[in-house]
């Protein structure tokens, strides 16, 4: 059951990214360009997503197991630290340069668009650099997936 769920959730998430317009960097950059002709679509994406997910997380917080009886893995509360802020700023710079964040990049690469494949492979290299070069201490802090 779980095996099908993870695939279907990935599929549903991918379809949502396509429908919302997130897989089009032109649309993402149109949202981030607030001094140019501004496309507010991404605010609708976040609004729609949070409206649905909010109640699910309220429910998840009250439960100790999933509806299938498995454990619920939620990140432990941790303070806002330099690492969180610096990493997020670096991510934001890359996002603003290309208009791709991880999910939409993978979906667009799956569609076979060569520039999306280039971005995705570089992104994987950046992630690998974190795993193998980053200080081992960084791995011991709680990670929000």
């Amino acid at each position: 059951m779980n095996r099908v769920i993870e695939f279907l959730v990935g599929l549903l998430f991918g379809l949502g990214l396509i429908l919302s317009g997130m897989t089009d960097p032109g649309k993402v950059l149109g949202f981030l360009d607030i001094t140019g002709p501004w496309d507010p679509s991404l605010a609708c994406v976040m609004g729609g997503a949070i409206a649905v997910a909010l109640s699910a997380f309220v429910l998840a917080r009250r439960r100790t197991t999933t509806f299938l009886g498995g454990p619920i893995h939620l990140p432990a509360d941790a303070p806002i630290d330099r690492r969180l802020v610096i990493g997020s700023i670096v991510f934001g710079i890359g996002w603003g340069l290309a208009g791709f964040c991880p999910g939409p990049a993978i979906v667009a690469a799956g569609a076979g668009f060569s520039k999306a494949v280039v971005f995705t492979l570089s992104m994987l290299a950046g992630m690998a650099a974190f795993e193998f070069i980053a200080q081992p201490a960084a791995r011991n802090t709680p990670v929000l997936e």
């Binding site: 549903l12 997380f57 934001g92 993978i106 999306a116 992630m127 795993e131």
Partner: protein, 143 residues
Amino acid sequence: MTIDWNHFTPWASLAGGVLLGLAAALFILLSGRLLGVSGILGGLLAPRGADTAWRLRFLAGLLVAPAVWTLFCTLHAPRIQASGTSLMIAGLLVGWGTRYGSGCTSGHGVCGLSRLSPRSIAATLAFMAAGLATVYIVRHLLA
């Protein structure tokens, strides 16, 4: 501020967002996991890559989404203006940054904001501000 009415797609984006929220809801309530793409992907690259199978299944779902989409609708080509070099630099920054900052638009943005997590709110503000500043510099100062 002027609204770009030609590209603004409120209903499709809202509906797409609802699907994203639904996927995140199903993932936490049925699989017990938080839907964060960078973390799921990064876990595959970890030296001690535990529990890779479910990560690969999620990734497979993402990768086949365009094929499933084209069964019902037309898939429009993404507008990618950045050069190959820019894309490579951007990819490295996104890859390293999301792992160092423990999340991306899905984990911090969708799930973190839905959980009202202070860390995720801070992270989302940080990457939004950096994205806005980068686009302003690239499009209006350097262009």
